[in-house]
């Protein structure tokens, strides 16, 4: 029997008209969702509006949710599509990842340069976090999204692959690219 607070159980109860069950879904997922949306759109008011819209979309699409998938990955796929639509409407080429990720099959391209300076060590942790937030704004959104899921939301590579419909290897490589991008950005900032 599914635990009372299991996502799938909460979805089932919501579909039966239990408002409290949906409220529990909201409380459980609003923080990770806002962390993701906020860093994607870089604007607090917009992030709050988007997060609300995403939950409302999710509520009205609940009857199409298939329990064989994780609810969390389904929710974040809706969120990702919502943000992609926003970029498209603004005509910002943000999620066209093909030309940016030329190195999907070329991981060996990143070798450690000799006498590499220890960039991160030069910052205090708080300072480093601040610099990472700044660097995230410069990261192409297609990579930023994967980085946030992996290192802020702490999703597994398999979960990210399920959200984006990509092979796990491709996801790993793109997350790796995003980290190197950030590290190089921090290095240039010194």
């Amino acid at each position: 029997m599914a635990p009372m607070h299991d996502d799938k159980e909460l979805v089932r109860r919501t579909l039966q008209g239990d408002k409290q069950a949906f409220e529990m879904i909201l409380k459980k997922h609003q923080q990770p969702l806002l962390n993701y949306v906020g860093r994607m759109v870089q604007n607090r008011e917009l992030a709050l509006d988007f997060t609300q819209d995403i939950f409302i979309k999710t509520y009205y699409a609940l009857d199409t949710y298939q329990p064989r998938y994780k609810f969390k990955t389904w929710l974040f796929k809706i969120a990702s599509n919502h943000i992609i639509d926003y970029w498209r409407k603004k005509k910002i080429e943000a999620f066209s990842i093909n030309h940016r990720n030329r190195r999907d099959s070329d991981q060996s391209g990143f070798q450690i340069p000799s006498n590499e300076p220890s960039t991160c060590k030069k910052f205090e942790l708080t300072d480093l976090r601040h610099k990472i937030e700044q660097a995230l704004e410069k990261l192409p959104p297609s990579l930023r999204e994967l980085f946030i899921w992996r290192h802020v939301n702490e999703f597994s590579y398999e979960e990210i692959a399920e959200i984006k419909g990509l092979p796990v290897g491709t996801v790993k490589n793109r997350v790796y690219q995003s980290k190197e991008f950030l590290r190089q950005f921090l290095e240039e900032k010194i």
């Binding site: 949906f22 806002l34 199409t64 990143f110 450690i112 060590k121 942790l125 790796y176």
Partner: protein, 192 residues
Amino acid sequence: MNCLSADLIYMYLEEGLSAAEKQMVQDHLSSCKKCQRAMEERRLLVEASQSLPLWKVPADFTPRIMARIFLEKASPREWIATASVGIFAAVLAFFFVFMLSGQNLVTLLANLSYTVLTFFRNIIVALAKSVKVLSLAVEIIYKFISSLLRGLASIATLLGPELQILLTVGVVIFSLLFLYGIKRKFLVGEKT
């Protein structure tokens, strides 16, 4: 052994290596200052990323979403109370206008009824015109579809039975693909 590649370092940090690979990395690290530095560098980056500050969720965030989804239906008592307040406000406004205008009450009532009647008369005329336009549009669409069907029937008589079947199958496939396209376009929250 060559120096460690960055992706190998990340895999080591994320516990993504086999025991043998892990041992190999550790052996190399014990004798290579450059890789020790690189490892420390990336460890700090990952640790700092995993402890970035949260985006604060406002206290009324959940109630706001719940209110947007589940708009509370007013009870009959609330409806009566709202209607009473509305009527009272309208009567009050009327007497306020009456006092300001300095007109006599009968004249004011006559003017008011004239305004209301004119409003409804205009609405009725506008409605009648809309109905007329709508019926004309329906008639035009009907005639267009009839002509189209007659044209298709004429073409069908010129074709052999095999071609007729082929054409029908083609039209059905095209329609299904069209409907599928529409569905994909409007599908909310595509499943993984």
